[in-house]
Each structure stands twice: as structure tokens, then as C-alpha cells.
């Protein structure tokens, strides 16, 4: 591969934002027929490099050549026309348009200038079938979950038949099956000679698919390596810039003792919670200090369960008891009053308020709970915010920057801080580690353990079964929008068994 000429080279790329040097003299090359992973911590500059390449941002310096020709795109439109197709980090589609249209807009099949809708739908269905997705292509994209939206974005990108395909964290919300499907297609495209730039925080995925790795750190280039020649441990060290024993933290597989936490009145117990069209009625009890993992395939209804528990959506019926007394969780405000917090998976639409500063975003939930008449004193705000910026190593560490200027992973950390500040008794985390670098991920996992040791109950949703297994006392399994099983997380439980449950959909009650 190395002997061929690179299809894309970027030399000496620099890019600054007010107060931040996002990229500094970065070189990057991409060969035809390779999958090239771009690695780095949150805020290292990966997304910025991609945006500079595709012309979303102007460069402050440096040159880009495509096929030996110097190029400077004025925007994604030109980039696409030149054969560079991109899936950006935050799903960037129009939720008001139909699925089919999202895939084909801008290059619809036309007859005498008129869009051929039948053809659009037919081709969209074909394409999605290739990705093993069965969707109503004329439904608005917004009616599907984020994961589906991400798959649609990928479908759009690969259908463009570009020479360069850029995928910025495409797998962050996909489950194992979806990832496998994506990889199969990526390999196929690679074999057709397409150069693929791939960003992810999952090391396993890198080693599974990438031929070559470029590592960025703090906006600077660390180096370019062949995957085969770079052991996982040294990759992490290069990303973090320190020799850390992070990997030990990840490898540590602690079994949690369910019996120890499951005594006394449960903190929250719901029965017959459900919502027509979203989730079948389910029952769940959560005790103080307990971590309940929620496993299931994409679209199995995990997010829906979380939203019902938080009052983000209304249930059709059912009972809730908090601390053993009947209660209700009908609005988020009510849930927060009862000590429930919810960190949504869709941080851009449901999480951050982009205009507001990091500080304001962090104290938002706490402030909401106090009511507008009792502002959190500024001193206290600063204390809290400083504490969490440090604890979660949020970068840039400036509490006054608008949160929209932060990298995706750092925004996620800000949201986490928002809820930790409220000191909830039950914290619902929907994909909290999505798009978070390996260092921070370990931190968050440790944090969850600490919090539960401190008596906080956590409902933990993650596409990574290992992570769920590592943290939870109890695992609830979702399938087809039904809670099909609940397992105690003991020696008998492993990923295989959960997968089987998901696959078979056995309705057996948990063996607890």
C-alpha cells in the first residue's frame, strides 16, 4: 500500500480559534485502498482536521493536495464534488426530511429536472437493505433514534461513491451488530480502492479494521504508524502523552455484589411503566448504591425506558414508588425533585445549550431545581465548575467559553458534570461514554463505581456490553422495545449470555 501515491496529503495544517490552537503544523496522508484511523483524546483536533479538509473551516496555514493537485475547498459541497465524502461527528442530517431524502438530497435522480421520488425511495430501500436496516424510507428521519440517524448518514456517505470517505466517530452509537455491518461495507469499499479516514475512540475497532494510524495530541501531530507495528498500549501512551496504567483500569473486571445493595426499600420502583408505540410496560426496581445496566440492540427501546423514568415522556399508566411511597414522575422537573438525573444520549439536541458558557451549562440543572428566584451564588458556581472541570479534565479549562466551541467529547463531559452537580440519588446515563476518549472513559467508569459506592443509584445504558458488565450490579435486557430479562451480574453472566437473550428473546424471568 505504501508504495502507491497518497490520494490525499495535508501538510503543515494549522488552525486557531479565539484562544485555542486547535491544530498546529499537522501533516497527514491517506492512501487509496486503506482504512486510516485518526486517533487522539477529546479535543485533540480530529474533527477540526476533518473540517479543515472539507472546507468547513478556512485554514490558517498549510496545504492540501488531492491526487497531487493542490485543493482548497470552500465547503462540503465542493469537497463532495471532488470525491471527498464525509460523515461528520455530530449526526448532520435534516430531521424534518424523510429518510430517503436525507440519503439522496443534492444528488437525487431526476427526469427533466424533476426529482423522481419513486426512484429515490427505491434506491434508498436498496441501500439500507445493504446495511441491514429496515426502515420506512418515507418517514421523517426525526422519528428514528440517533443510532438509526447515524446509519442513515453513513448510508448517504457511502452511496456517494467517493474516492475518499471520511467517518468521524461513526460507530459511537452503534451496537456490535451494526458495527460489524459497517465494517463489512468499509472493507468492501477499501477493496474497491477507496481511501477511508476513520475516527473512533474504540481501540478494538481500530485494531480490527485500520491499516494505519495517525495520532494527534493537543492539536499537534504525534506520528503516523502502521497498525500492525503499534501495540495497543503504546497507542494509548502516544495519545495521552504519558505512560499511564489506564489499560489496567480498563482490564479490571470487577464483579459487583448485588445482594449487598439490594436490601431495604428500593429507591425507585416502577411497575407497568410503558408507552404505546415506544416501550411495552415494564417493571424495575433500583436500590440506592445500585448500578443497573441496560443492554439491548440499537432501537430496542433503552432510551425510551430512560426517558419514561425521567418523565421526559409521559407513561400510559403504571405506578412509581420512591423510597417506598407512591409518587409520580410525569415531568423532568418532577423527576429532578425526586432526585433523578438524566444525561441524554443526544447531546446536541437534548443536552447542551450551545450559546451558554460551560459554567452556565453545568449549573443549569441545579439552578432549575432551585427555581429562578434563588440563583446559585457565583462563588459556589465557580467552586463547583472548577471542581468538575478538573475532575473530568475538560478542555479548554475555561468555564466562560460557549459550550458549542468545545469538542464533542468535552461537551459530553460538561453534561455529565451538570448532573453530578445536582447530586442526584438516581442518575440515568444514556451512552455517557459515547465519543469519549479512552482516558476519560476510564475516568467515567471509575466515577460511576465511586458514585455507587457512595450510595447513588445509576441506570447505565451503553452499547458496549463489556462496559455494562463491568459496572453493573444488575443487567436488564431490552429486545424489541420490551424488557425481556433482568440478570444479577454474577459469575454466570457474561456477554454471550446477554447476546443469547437478546437473540432468542426468551421471556424467562431473571434468575435472581
Amino acid at each position: 500500500m505504501t508504495d502507491s501515491r497518497p490520494v490525499l496529503t495535508m501538510t503543515g495544517i494549522s488552525k486557531s480559534f479565539p484562544g485555542v490552537r486547535a491544530l498546529h503544523d499537522v501533516n497527514f496522508r491517506l492512501f487509496p485502498g486503506e482504512v486510516h484511523a485518526l486517533m487522539g483524546e477529546n479535543g485533540a483536533g480530529k474533527s477540526t482536521l476533518i473540517k479543515v479538509l472539507t472546507g468547513v473551516y478556512d485554514t490558517d496555514g498549510g496545504t492540501i493536495t488531492l491526487d497531487g493537485q493542490p485543493v482548497s475547498f470552500s465547503g462540503p459541497m465542493q469537497a463532495t464534488a471532488a470525491g471527498v465524502s464525509t460523515v461528520f461527528q455530530e449526526v448532520n442530517l435534516c430531521t424534518n426530511l424523510s429518510v430517503a431524502e436525507n440519503i439522496f438530497i443534492g444528488r437525487e435522480p431526476r427526469l427533466l429536472g424533476a426529482v423522481r421520488w419513486g426512484e429515490v425511495r427505491r434506491r434508498a430501500r436498496e441501500l439500507l437493505t445493504r446495511l441491514d436496516l429496515d426502515l420506512d424510507v418515507s418517514a421523517p428521519l426525526g422519528s428514528y433514534s440517533l443510532a438509526i440517524q447515524q446509519m442513515v448518514a453513513i448510508a448517504r456517505a457511502i452511496d456517494i461513491k467517493a474516492r475518499v470517505l471520511i467517518l468521524d466517530e461513526p460507530t459511537s452509537s452503534l451496537d456490535a451488530g451494526e458495527v460489524a455491518q459497517l465494517f463489512r461495507i468499509m472493507r468492501q469499499l477499501r477493496d474497491e480502492g477507496i481511501a477511508i479516514l476513520f475516527v473512533t475512540h474504540f481501540l478494538d475497532q481500530v485494531y480490527e479494521i485500520a491499516d494505519r494510524i495517525t495520532v494527534l495530541r493537543n492539536g499537534g501531530l504525534v506520528g503516523e504508524y502502521l497498525t500492525a507495528e503499534l501495540p495497543q498500549l503504546s497507542l494509548v501512551e502516544k495519545m495521552i502523552g504519558k505512560e499511564l496504567d489506564v489499560l489496567e483500569g480498563i482490564e479490571e473486571h470487577s464483579r459487583r455484589d448485588l445482594a449487598a445493595v439490594e436490601e431495604g426499600t428500593p429507591l425507585v420502583s416502577v411497575s407497568n411503566f410503558g408507552r404505546a408505540g415506544a416501550v411495552e410496560p415494564f417493571s424495575l426496581t433500583i436500590h440506592a448504591g445500585e448500578v443497573v445496566g441496560l443492554a439491548g440492540l440499537l432501537g430496542s427501546g433503552r432510551t425510551e425506558v430512560a426517558r419514561l423514568l425521567f418523565g421526559a415522556d409521559r407513561t400510559d399508566g403504571g405506578q412509581v414508588a420512591v423510597d417506598g411511597t407512591a409518587s409520580s414522575l410525569r415531568t423532568p422537573a418532577q423527576a429532578i425533585e425526586q432526585g433523578v438525573g438524566f444525561c441524554s444520549e443526544n447531546r446536541r439536541a437534548e443536552g447542551i445549550v450551545g450559546d451558554l458558557s460551560v459554567r452556565e451549562n453545568m449549573i443549569l440543572a441545579m439552578q432549575a431545581a432551585r427555581g429562578w428566584l434563588r440563583p446559585v451564588p457565583r462563588r459556589r458556581q465557580d467552586e463547583l465548575v472548577d471542581k468538575y472541570i478538573k475532575a473530568l479534565s475538560i478542555r479548554p479549562a475555561d468555564p466562560e467559553v460557549p459550550v458549542r466551541n468545545l469538542s464533542g467529547g468535552n461537551q459530553q463531559k460538561v453534561l455529565l458534570a451538570r448532573w453530578l452537580i445536582t447530586e442526584p440519588r438516581l442518575l440515568i446515563l444514556d451512552e455517557p461514554t459515547r465519543g469519549i476518549d479512552i482516558g476519560a472513559k476510564t475516568e467515567i467508569q471509575k466515577l460511576v463505581t465511586q458514585l455507587s459506592d457512595g450510595g447513588m443509584a445509576v441506570l447505565f445504558i451503553s452499547a458496549e456490553l463489556e462496559e455494562v458488565l463491568r459496572l453493573s450490579h444488575k443487567v436488564a435486557v431490552m429486545r424489541d422495545r420490551q424488557m425481556v430479562a433482568q440478570f444479577a451480574n454474577d459469575e454466570s453472566l457474561d456477554a454471550d449470555r446477554i447476546m443469547q437473550t437478546i437473540a432468542s428473546g426468551s421471556h424467562q424471568e431473571a434468575d435472581r
Binding site: 421526559a312 437534548e350 447542551i352 443549569l364 434563588r374
Partner: protein
């Protein structure tokens, strides 16, 4: 050298720099045209002069624009403020005109309380339509914009109600410490609104709701209440502005009071840097915006620009004001001037921005 440069940048980079610069340029142009423009003299213990007029006349606009700022910041818009001005003025004047002793302070205070109460109810009506029923703000408030004019005329029976009440007149024409009372009222209202929003968490919560309503809901904010409150505050501001407008001429004209003030108010808010899309709001910018608009109007009269061309003149000024303020315009301009790449301090954004 670089320190002065830095300080220069810090000044020009300030949010209020460009609106303030525009205001100064307009005043300067007037002074060149008529050297006496800025002169102020003391007459009967009152300061008298064009700058004072501008301040006094902009007071109602400032009031309306303050409320409008909050509403816009929630992502809404309030078209009914002009009609609310007319209603509050009409109610107050009508009540006073029916009393035997129009100069009694109790009568005037009762009238004000009555008019304010009615305005609050109407503000609450707007709030309910937007926050509870979920009608798009522009339509929800359009209803009251149309019907409110009718209500105001219904109250006055289509007549101009002239009153002769010293205390009421004082709202528009009274003086305090040689300055028109209206200036102090506007200032006080600005301080109250600023205190109300910035001393409490209301401001941040409003900005949060305007910035991302769903995220705010999920953070536990009862956004309905906040939006409701914004419309009520807006109505209250409009009511006081209505008192001022009617007191200024001691008469209530249901048809003319506050006509098109909503457009001016929105213009002031936007010139002040608040985005119509909602989110961050800037009260000081709004006040500056209102002053710019009033200065513009006064300029037309002071320079005796012909009525046929005054609108063209306004169009040019508005567009210039907005252009010099727009970072994108300055960035382009700066880039053209120097061939070197632009300084890294100019706001670099994605090339496309979300429209308002």
C-alpha cells in the same frame, strides 16, 4: 506598542463598541450640520436641548424594547406591544377623564394600577397562547395586535380622550433633578429588568430556554412558566410605555398610540446584539439600539430631510448600522485591506451561520 494594540482590540471587540460608534457618528453628523445640536441650556430649572429630547422620546421605546428583549431571548416575538401601549394609555386616560378631580394623586395612581392590571392580564393571555397552547408566537401576538387596537378604540369610543391631570402629565413631561422624569422611569425599568434577570437566575434560564428548549426541559426547567413570564413582563413594560406616550400629549388616541412601535422595538433589540433566534440577550445593547433609532428619527426632523426621501435615508442608515456591526462584514473588509491573513482574533466561525 502591542499593548496599545491589544487595548484597541479589546475596545473595538466589545459588543457595544459598534452600536456606540454608530450613535456617536450620527450625533457628530448632526452637530456638523447644525452646531447647536448638542447644546443644552437650563430653562426654568429644566435642561432643554435636543439630546434631552432624544433621551426623553426614546424612553418609551426603551421600555418596550426591554420587554421585547426578554421575549425574543426565549425565541419568541411580541407583536402586540403597540396595541398594549394604546390599551394601557386608553384605560388610564379614560378612568382619569371620568373622575371629578383629575389632579388627585389617588385618582392617577388608581388609573395606573387599573391599566397595568389590564395589561398584565393581556400579557398573560399572550403567554398562555404561546406557552400553554403552543401557538407560534408571531401569530399568537398578532391576534392581540389586531384585536388590541380595536379594544383601545372601543375604550375611547374612537375619540381622542384629552385629560387635564398634572400628576399623569408628569409621567411624560415631569422633571426630576432638571431632567425629564421619563428618563428616570426608563432607567429604573432598565435597572429593574436587569436586576430581575441578572440578579436572579431568570436571565440565564430565559437564555437557556431560547437557546435550546428541549435541552432546558430535560434539565428540569419549566420552560412554559419562563416563557409565560417573559410575555407578562413585556406587557408590563409596554403598559408603562403607553402611560408615557399618552402623558406626553395628555391624551389617549387609541389608533395612534404605539403604532408600529413593535417594529422599532425589535429593531432596537437586534441592533443591540440579541439574536432573533433566541438565546443570549443584551439589555445594554437594546438601550443603545433604542437610542440609535430615536436619534435617527430626530435627525430626519432636525436636518429637515424631505419627507419623500426620509425613508430612503432611514433604510441606508439601518443597513449601515447593521453592516458595521456584523463581524462577517468587518472580517471581509479587514481581509481586503491587508493582504496578510486575518488576525486570529477575528471571530472565526463556520462559514455558514444559522439564520435567525
Amino acid at each position: 506598542m502591542s499593548a496599545t494594540m491589544g487595548r484597541y482590540r479589546a475596545v473595538t471587540g466589545h459588543r457595544l463598541f459598534w452600536p456606540a460608534a454608530v450613535l456617536v457618528v450620527m450625533l457628530a453628523a448632526n452637530t456638523i450640520y447644525r452646531p447647536g445640536f448638542l447644546s443644552i441650556e437650563l430653562k426654568d430649572g429644566h435642561l432643554y436641548g435636543t439630546p434631552i429630547d432624544i433621551l426623553r422620546l426614546s424612553a418609551p421605546l426603551i421600555l418596550v424594547a426591554l420587554g421585547m428583549t426578554l421575549v425574543i431571548s426565549t425565541g419568541g416575538i411580541d407583536l402586540s406591544v403597540g396595541s398594549l401601549c394604546a390599551i394601557s394609555g386608553a384605560v388610564a386616560c379614560m378612568y382619569i377623564s371620568k373622575q371629578p378631580d383629575q389632579n388627585s394623586l389617588t385618582v392617577v395612581l388608581t388609573a395606573l394600577a387599573l391599566a397595568l392590571a389590564i395589561s398584565l392580564v393581556l400579557g398573560a393571555w399572550n403567554g398562555v397562547l404561546v406557552a400553554v397552547i403552543g401557538i407560534q408566537p408571531i401569530i399568537a401576538t398578532l391576534i392581540l395586535m389586531v384585536a388590541g387596537r380595536g379594544l383601545a378604540q372601543l375604550i375611547t369610543q374612537g375619540q381622542i380622550i384629552t385629560i387635564n391631570s398634572g400628576p399623569f402629565r408628569a409621567i411624560g413631561l415631569g422633571h426630576l433633578l432638571t431632567l425629564p422624569l421619563a428618563i428616570f422611569i426608563a432607567l429604573a425599568a432598565a435597572l429593574v429588568v436587569a436586576g430581575f434577570t441578572r440578579r436572579t437566575a431568570l436571565g440565564m434560564i430565559v437564555e437557556s430556554v431560547g437557546g435550546n428548549a428541549e435541552a432546558s426541559r430535560l434539565a428540569g426547567i419549566r420552560s412554559g412558566r419562563v416563557i409565560f413570564l417573559a410575555y407578562v413582563i413585556s406587557a408590563a413594560c409596554a403598559a408603562v410605555a403607553g402611560f408615557m406616550m399618552t402623558a406626553n400629549v395628555s391624551s389617549a388616541d387609541g389608533n395612534a398610540v404605539g403604532l408600529w412601535v413593535e417594529l422599532d422595538a425589535i429593531l432596537a433589540v437586534v441592533i443591540g446584539g440579541t439574536s432573533l433566534a433566541g438565546g443570549r440577550f443584551f439589555l445594554s445593547g437594546t438601550i443603545l439600539g433604542a437610542l440609535i433609532i430615536q436619534t435617527l428619527t430626530t435627525t430626519v426632523y432636525a436636518m429637515d430631510i424631505s419627507p419623500q426621501t426620509s425613508l430612503l435615508f432611514k433604510a441606508v442608515v439601518v443597513i449601515v448600522v447593521c453592516l458595521v456591526q456584523a463581524p462577517a462584514f468587518r472580517a471581509r473588509f479587514a481581509r481586503r485591506r491587508r493582504s496578510v491573513p486575518p488576525p486570529t482574533t477575528t471571530a472565526d466561525k463556520p462559514k455558514e451561520q444559522v439564520p435567525a
